[in-house]
């Protein structure tokens, strides 16, 4: 294997493994700040390093340190201490590994060789995701059982029944998608969504299969145990459900596992239904062909975006009460300098690209970077929808959840398959 091969393998593994982990911090911040802003309050705003609060991102570091130093409790009366320690590992591992098949950019062609831009370049596609997510529920069941606590057992029971019930509508919704797309490879699914319907609407999954989209998104909420389906850990009913006896780092693993699962679910949803890493109307070939105009457009857009953001930040990032030597104003000024420095760097890179490396491999690398950014932005927006729904809706009761899964989503998914197949057969 050449050096380039090794480099790209490392790069893809790094992105596939570390992007979800970094996103945990972003998601925790989004959850807490988003919840606060929905509820007319401020969220975490005190943790700071030398006065730099980063709008609450530093709180993640504080939380991490606290969780590491907390007392790690293993219930003495539990007979299955091995499973007690194993359970959060299963949940976290499965969530992390299921991201391996999601393409975060189109296939990169460098020096004649094709590099599939996924964590692990295999063509199992969506089947890998389904298999691994189903496995994560073992962690929850083991956690509840080995806690030797009635609340834990109830939480574990509820979670297991819930996950099993919602795997089926999820799979069936996928079947109708597969009928339309004709492949299980996620990369090809994204390519399919690049085509245009009636000449101007991108054939996103949500346009072609709205019912399947609804069913899949609802099932994805249920699979990740997010409100309104979070009764396995319903705080007010079962205290903390299956993770009631967990403390410190093991609890942190559950917590992080849930956020990684949320991230992965969001990425799968946007890959299947919202065009994945693709910028609408601009396929990879178009971008590569028009690389120079695109980069000139970027050179114009990046400073504008930075200016808008800095304006908003300077207006809002100050203490809204009388405070001498306001550290927040100082912080905002420092951030403004950093942002403009980053803009300068980006502009320099783009200018360098335009002058020296236009045409050839650099075009493709630029396109890949753009697609990664699009992918992350779309995933972030879907994660925001997760947070938004959590703070709007109350939770289901256990039997109503089962009713929804079996008696409403399952027949709807079957109906969807029939209609889709009929339409596809008629049109072909």
């Amino acid at each position: 294997m050449s050096q380039l091969d090794i480099l790209l393998v490392l790069l893809r593994v790094a992105v596939g493994a570390f992007v979800p982990l970094c996103f945990i911090a972003v998601l925790v911040w989004l959850e807490r700040r988003g919840a606060a802003f929905f509820q007319d309050r401020a969220g975490p705003n005190r943790a700071n390093i030398f006065g730099f609060r980063a709008a609450g991102l530093v709180q993640n570091a504080a939380d991490g340190i606290k969780l590491i130093f907390k007392e790690d409790v293993i219930p003495g009366h539990s007979a299955h201490k091995f499973y007690f320690v194993l359970a959060p590992l299963i949940v976290f591992f499965c969530a992390l590994v299921s991201f391996a098949v999601v393409p975060f950019a189109d296939t990169l062609v460098l020096e004649g060789k094709q590099y599939i831009m996924q964590g692990i370049p295999m063509d199992l596609g969506i089947l890998w995701f389904l298999a691994i997510t189903g496995f994560a529920v073992y962690g929850i069941i083991l956690a509840g059982w080995s806690s030797h606590n009635k609340y834990g057992v109830l939480g574990a029971l509820r979670a297991s029944a819930q996950v099993i019930s919602y795997e089926i509508p999820m799979g069936l919704a996928l079947v109708s998608l597969l009928v339309v797309y004709g492949t299980i490879n996620l990369n090809e699914i994204v390519h399919f969504q690049g085509k245009l319907l009636f000449g101007f609407i991108p054939m996103w999954g949500v346009v072609l299969q709205p019912l399947a989209a609804v069913i899949f998104i609802v099932s994805a909420f249920a699979e990740t145990n997010r409100t309104p389906f979070d009764l396995a850990e319903g705080e007010s009913e079962l205290v903390a459900g299956f993770h009631v006896e967990y403390s410190a780092m093991k609890f942190a693993l559950f917590f992080m596992g849930e956020y990684v699962a949320m991230f992965v679910s969001s990425s799968i949803i946007i890959t299947l239904f919202f065009g994945g890493y693709q910028i609408p109307w601009l396929s990879t070939e178009t971008l590569v062909a028009y690389a120079k105009p695109v980069s000139m457009l970027l050179m114009g857009l990046v400073p504008v975006a930075a200016a808008l953001f800095c304006g908003w930040m300077m207006k809002n990032n100050k203490s809204h009460y009388d405070r001498p030597n306001d550290p927040r104003v100082r912080e905002a000024k420092v951030y403004r300098i950093i942002i403009w420095m980053m803009v300068v760097v980006v502009e320099a890179v783009l200018v360098g690209y335009l002058l020296y490396a236009a045409g050839g491999a650099a075009d493709r690398i630029l396109v890949v970077l753009l697609q990664i950014v699009t992918f992350l932005v779309k995933t972030f927006m879907m994660c925001f929808v997760y947070v938004w729904v959590r703070w709007t809706l109350p939770r289901f009761r256990y039997d109503q959840l089962q009713l929804l899964g079996w008696k409403m989503l399952l027949p709807l998914a079957l109906l969807n398959i029939f209609i889709t197949s009929a339409v596809v057969v008629a049109l072909s």
Binding site: A35, F38, Q39, D40, R41, K150, Y151, L154, T227, P228, D230, L231, G234, E235, S236, E237, L238, V239, W391, T392, L393, P394, R395, F396, R397, Y398, D399, Q400
Partner: protein, 571 residues
């Protein structure tokens, strides 16, 4: 109580002594005729006293006037349709031998008589479950007896497993012993509480579960029992007012008003018009606060946490007005016997209007998130239903009773403080499920806002204290200057407001239901006995009826819906 009703009572009970106290009739019978009298009052078509409000006893050990026996037992009954209140009293010569129970007539007698047994030691023959309710199970002695020293506290060293009680309840529900032994159909016992996020305080709900369905339920209360009634016997009437703050601490001023209204009605004092309107405005304002807390906590239990913030932010803002007016956020202690502590401050109308507008906005935001949301409908409609007759039998009052379809509201049926001059609606539900209880509270907030706006327009200028020297502290200038003022002040502080000897009961429509006070006065400035009739005590007594047969998740939101406030429940 009009003359015809009294005549009918005298005709129905010829050997009983009937007297009128305020507007209730007091029927004194001998213990042998007690149950017969009670059942006649309940079942006879002329009387139909379907609501047993309260059961209490009195220890006459230190009473200046000799009585027939050391103890007397009082049952307070209400006919809500005709607005009649009757108190049936009987002397109890031997508390250990006891009197026959009335639980077969009204289910509310179950907990009422348990409390009498706990506090006074009077046994009830035939009671299905006679054990302590407010004090812990290892307590020795009966605290409200006059010979129990107030400083003697007792510590409980072991949890009450309540196994006997839950097994008895399971047997009642038809679960046989063999089912209990069989591992495949075994019942699981789960304790919700006493420290659990849902109990909003400390209440223990012991459930016997079959999967997630509750087969049997037994509750233990008394974790916040602080001995209000015993403490009040050592304080003057005015000194008890700060203690009433701590009863229903979500709507503290309402308890103050209920208490002083009861004392003023016995003293025969007519408070000034301005005070009446002040009390109406503040009662309705605090009713809004209580309902905001109840709905917010209930929705948190359901999982919709954002509603909590939309409702609570406005409650927090209202504390600005409350602290400017009364001097404290929660423990207002704002009323005095004969009037109010202080007048409204300048600019209060603008503040109040501002707060009401914000409350309307916050409540409508929350309403939009909840009212037509099918998830909320599924969780609350048809769940934990309490039928009309059962609700009356258990002594429910207030929004929970109105949810079951009984249009009983003291502001409408026995109006006081010019309530009949206002234009408002009393919301009544149809099915008695959680949905009704929740929606009625939303509607009551809007109706209270209507009343406040009307009262703010009608409130007259004038003094806020009656000028009666037996009751009102003289103004400070007279206290500093003249000897009569000083002497009056001195007597009122040291001896308290003297009430004529006797016993009386008066009630008030608090946020949770009928808050009643039963007083026994020996003629001095300190009450001989104060009994609070807490609305949520009797509602909690009926909790197991609502919850058995539904799931844990329903029990959890039911507890929030019925607005159990620990301070009022346990006193």
């Amino acid at each position: 109580m009009n003359a015809t009703a009294l005549e009918k009572l005298q005709a129905a009970f010829p050997e009983a002594t009937i007297s009128t106290v305020l507007d209730s009739a007091v029927i004194a019978v001998q213990p042998e005729r007690l149950i017969e009298t009670l059942s006649h009052l309940k079942n006879d078509k002329d009387f139909k006293f379907s609501l047993l409000l309260d059961v209490t006893a009195i220890d006459y050990l230190e009473y200046p006037v000799a009585q027939e026996a050391r103890f007397a037992l009082v049952y307070t009954l209400r006919n809500w349709q005709k607005n009649m209140v009757v108190q049936v009293r009987t002397p109890v010569h031997d508390p250990d031998a006891g009197v026959p129970t009335a639980t077969h007539l009204w289910d509310s007698a179950n907990w009422g008589e348990r409390e009498v047994y706990d506090q006074y030691g009077i046994r009830f023959i035939g009671h299905p479950d006679l054990r302590r309710i407010l004090n812990h199970w290892q307590f020795k002695g009966h605290p409200l007896r006059k010979d129990y020293p107030i400083k003697l506290g007792q510590i409980c060293y072991e949890t009450d497993s309540m196994e006997k009680e839950i097994r008895a309840r399971l047997a009642l529900k038809g679960v046989s012993q063999s089912t209990m032994q069989d591992i495949n159909t075994e019942i699981m016992f789960l304790n919700l509480g006493p420290s659990h996020p849902v109990t909003h305080g400390a209440i223990r709900i012991l459930t016997a579960l079959d999967g997630e369905t509750i087969v049997a339920n037994v509750n233990e209360i008394g974790y916040l029992h602080r001995g209000f009634e015993k403490t009040a016997e050592n304080l003057t009437y005015n000194q008890v007012i700060p203690l009433t703050d701590r009863l229903n601490y979500c709507s503290a001023l309402m308890n103050n008003i209920a208490y002083v209204k009861a004392v003023e009605s016995w003293l025969g004092i007519e408070i000034t018009e301005r005070t009446k309107f002040m009390r109406v405005v503040m009662s309705e304002f605090f009713r809004i606060q209580d309902h905001l807390v109840c709905i917010a906590a209930n929705l948190v239990d359901m999982g919709g946490l954002t509603n909590y913030w939309y409702l609570y932010n406005e409650k927090e803002a209202s504390y600005d007005l409350i602290s400017r007016l009364t001097g404290a956020r929660l423990t207002s202690s704002f009323t005095r016997i004969g009037g109010m502590y202080r007048d409204f401050y300048e600019g209060w109308e603008a503040d109040m209007e501002n707060h009401i507008k914000n409350i309307e906005k916050g409540v409508s935001d929350s309403y939009k998130l909840v009212a037509q949301n099918r998830i909320v409908h599924d969780r609350t409609q048809g769940v934990c239903v309490m039928s009309k007759d059962l609700a009356l039998s258990y002594g429910f009052t207030g929004p929970c009773l109105r949810a079951s379809g009984v249009p009983f509201d003291l502001r409408k049926d026995a109006p006081y403080y010019n309530y009949d001059a206002f234009d408002f609606e009393v919301p009544v539900g149809t099915k008695g499920d959680l949905y009704d209880r929740l929606m009625i509270r939303y509607e009551e907030i809007f109706q209270s806002i209507k009343i406040i706006r009307q009262a703010m327009k009608m409130i007259p200028e004038g003094p806020i204290f009656v000028s009666d020297h037996r009751v009102a502290l003289p103004p400070k200038s007279q206290v500093y200057g003249k000897i009569e003022g000083l002497a009056n002040h001195f007597k009122l502080i040291f001896e308290g407001v003297k009430t004529p000897p006797g016993e009386w009961y008066d009630s008030f429509e608090a946020a949770n239901g009928e808050l009643g006070f039963h007083f026994v006065s020996d003629g001095s400035g300190r009450p001989y006995k104060v009994k609070v009739r807490p609305p949520c005590f009797y509602i909690m007594g009926g909790f197991h009826e609502m919850v058995e047969g539904s799931m844990i998740a329903d029990a959890v939101i039911n507890l929030g819906c019925i607005n159990i406030i620990g301070g009022e429940l346990d006193r």
